[in-house]
């Protein structure tokens, strides 16, 4: 009898041990160095008004294997997308007989720093514009080509290729342009709005519970500095707006359309939340 009780006690202790292990798994304290050469900023001091004491890249929250995959630019499968993007950059499309390169020449020069500074204010539409939007604008106005459908055609690889030209540069959005500040406010409202049958806001997980597990998933701060990001789950590059929608879907809410005003506001706000982190595109995540 005593022995049985003892066993039950032991099992309980083991169970509690496991629970403690999973619930309190903190992000790792390591440095992300790409190919042993380029040191990335994956922790940064928070910008003024940020609710968290420190901004941290999602890289810190991943398994050792996934972290190693991102640290080796050869092994990173997202780089296949970058190569595709480069090919698209040099491909002539549309009625004007132009490619991206016809005007912008070498992306390594012309697009350096661009990805770190987007989304920007677009006076023509009176809204913020992201890289995907800027590509479409160029395709329609200058190339005589059709705008990409969401996540289709070359949208993901080309966006990733352009963002990759800012690899290692710190994320910095300029909220003083146009009405960016009011879109930041809208985005903040979305971020803190509880939604769906599970009644979760972005903040419920990524602000109040980052570092903990939600079932098998280790919650990060939800920074967007690595998008488009290679997700092992989908074996593919995943765009930011796809991820927004997936996350909102998981709260069992109706999710807004890609590039809708709601999600553009959220992009402005979440990008700002990752201020100072290196652009990691293409990051590797679970």
């Amino acid at each position: 009898m005593n022995k049985r009780l003892h066993n039950v006690g032991l099992l309980t202790a083991v169970a509690i041990g496991f629970t403690a292990l999973f619930v309190h798994a903190e992000p790792v304290d390591e440095k992300l160095v790409i190919d042993g050469e380029l040191e990335m900023t994956t922790r940064a001091a928070s910008p003024e008004g940020h609710p968290l004491p420190e901004v941290m890249s999602g890289w810190h929250y991943r398994t050792p294997e996934t972290r190693a995959m991102e640290a080796d630019s050869f092994q990173n499968p997202g780089m296949l997308g970058i190569e595709q993007g480069e090919a698209i950059w040099n491909t002539v499309e549309g009625s004007e007989g132009k490619s991206c390169a016809s005007c912008h020449d070498d992306a390594a020069v012309s697009m350096k720093g661009v990805g770190a500074a987007y989304p920007k204010w677009d006076a023509d539409s009176g809204k913020p514009i992201n890289i995907e939007g800027r590509i479409d604008k160029c395709r329609v106005e200058n190339m005589g080509a059709e705008a990409y459908k969401f996540d289709k055609g070359g949208q993901k690889p080309l966006t990733a290729y352009i963002k990759h030209q800012s690899f290692g540069m710190p994320v910095s959005v300029d909220l003083s342009q146009g009405e960016m500040q009011s879109w930041w406010d809208k985005g903040k409202e979305t971020y803190y709005l509880r939604t769906g049958q599970l009644n979760l806001s972005c903040a419920s997980c990524h602000e109040q519970n980052n570092g903990k597990y939600i079932r098998a998933d280790h919650l990060s701060q939800g920074n967007v500095n690595g998008f488009p990001t290679y997700r092992l789950k989908q074996n593919n590059l995943i765009s930011l707006h796809n991820r927004f929608r997936g996350c909102i879907r998981d709260t069992r809410a109706e999710f807004p359309g890609a590039f809708s005003d709601t999600l553009m506001g959220l992009e402005v706000y979440t990008t700002w939340r990752g201020t100072g982190l290196s652009v990691e595109t293409p990051a590797v995540r679970q």
């Binding site: 050869f74 092994q75 499968p77 296949l80 190569e83 595709q84 090919a87 074996n235």
Partner: protein
């Protein structure tokens, strides 16, 4: 499948060195277990064999099965005694062979 395979071999080495070789090929690796929206099985389409040759002799080969993820990455080591060319071959289920080559100078 659109992009070229990526292989990484050191440009030079000393005779007798053990070098590390990395390879990554873009491939969907459709397992044959999934169904499309209409419920039809999506036919299997994977890389089923990988082989690496050095100056015509096989140094590493393996069979690959359906459980391997998309864009298979393989890393292995080889000892080099002379200059030559590594040839990499990925065999697809449909019979096509994706090929790549890398030269190495051995002193």
């Amino acid at each position: 499948m659109a992009s070229k395979p990526r292989v990484k071999v050191p440009k030079s080495a000393s005779a007798g060195d053990i070098i590390s070789i990395k390879s990554l090929v873009s491939h969907t690796m459709e397992s044959g277990q999934r169904k499309d929206k209409e419920g039809n099985v999506i036919p299997r389409m994977i890389i089923n064999k990988f082989e690496c040759q050095f100056n015509g002799a096989t140094v590493f080969s393996c069979d690959i099965d359906a459980a391997v993820a998309a864009n298979p990455f393989l890393e292995f080591k080889a000892r080099v005694n002379e200059s030559g060319t590594f040839k990499f071959m990925w065999t697809d289920d449909d019979g096509t062979v994706i090929e790549a080559e890398k030269k190495i100078e051995v002193s």
